[in-house]
Symmetry: C2
Subunit: 188 residues, 2 copies
């Protein structure tokens, strides 16, 4: 095993995002990412299986966070509030990554295969939220409806945040989006 | 050009769905689909570019229907009602395909690449709805929020319909889903 490299993971992520922006995702090799980070390829592969995983490694971690947030919410809390709260926790974490998350999204939006992968990630979050709600005893249909809707609101808020390059507070945008949806739905 | 084959497109679609269910999507060839339909491969390629298009040819047609429904809705109608109305028209059309749509979905759900393609189709619908709302003068952020949410409600309703093999009325499930969301959101 090689020696310990301080914050190797963060340096690799930063290097990858720089190169994806400069050269394009397809033109960027793992060798170039490692070189830009001042690390070896061997170190890269201790942290990521391939260059795509640099962009998507966080997905399962965040999904687990959503599931835990739903499971730990007070039993009497309504499903929609539970989902809004879980997604609010997610927003707070991404808000701390405001230097990286919008740049990551620009790379993904420019690449059809990465966009599909990103949609798959969001669909997986919605399915996980739905299952977690059902484990709380929610009706499957309501669980699916609330989970899908919550992720749609999150996606919409996230897109607004990215367009503004992360300058606003994502948790505030998300809160506003849930409030706007309430107004829009009530007017039906 | 070959001779006119009555309802060739419908026969090819039926044959493809039978074979996808029997053998799996990957194991089904265009030659086998044409043979099952009692048609030539040449006739298949007059209707579809490949076997995947048998499953997804309707996507752009339905997207166009959504956009037209939004454009033609009364100017004073609120955005959320406009989207719910457009998706209701879509539900009515799919309801007429209750023999095919649930079988199609089973094929897609069993195949990772087809699931991603399906998610891409839904994302494209949401983007098209958002743009159509913006052309009516809606604020981009509200347009995106309402479009994403509407498609999420549709997806949830559609999944319930498919689970029940199309026995219920999709337009009724969709109406109920919008009503359930209103109750859930109002309780926040």
């Amino acid at each position: 095993m090689g020696r310990w490299e301080p914050n190797a993971r963060g340096r690799l992520e930063e290097a990858a995002l720089e190169l994806f922006a400069e050269r394009g995702y397809d033109q960027t090799t793992v060798a170039a990412i490692a070189e830009r980070a001042g690390l070896t390829e061997r170190t890269f592969f201790r942290h990521f299986t391939d260059k795509r995983e640099v962009l998507f490694a966080g997905g399962p971690v965040l999904e687990e966070l959503l599931v835990t947030a739903v499971a730990e919410a007070p039993a009497e809390k309504p499903a929609y509030d539970v989902v809004a709260g879980a997604l609010g926790q997610l927003a707070a974490i991404l808000n701390e990554r405001r230097e990286l998350a919008p740049r990551r999204q620009v790379v993904i939006d420019a690449h059809a295969e990465l966009r599909e992968r990103e949609l798959g990630k969001l669909a997986s979050w919605a399915d996980a939220l739905s299952r977690a709600l059902q484990e709380r005893g929610e009706d499957p249909r309501l669980a699916g409806l609330v989970a899908q809707t919550g992720v749609a609101v999150f996606r919409s808020a996230f897109e607004s945040w990215v367009v503004d390059a992360g300058n606003q507070d994502l948790t505030a945008i998300l809160r506003d989006s849930f409030a706007e949806l309430r107004v829009a739905v009530a007017g039906m």
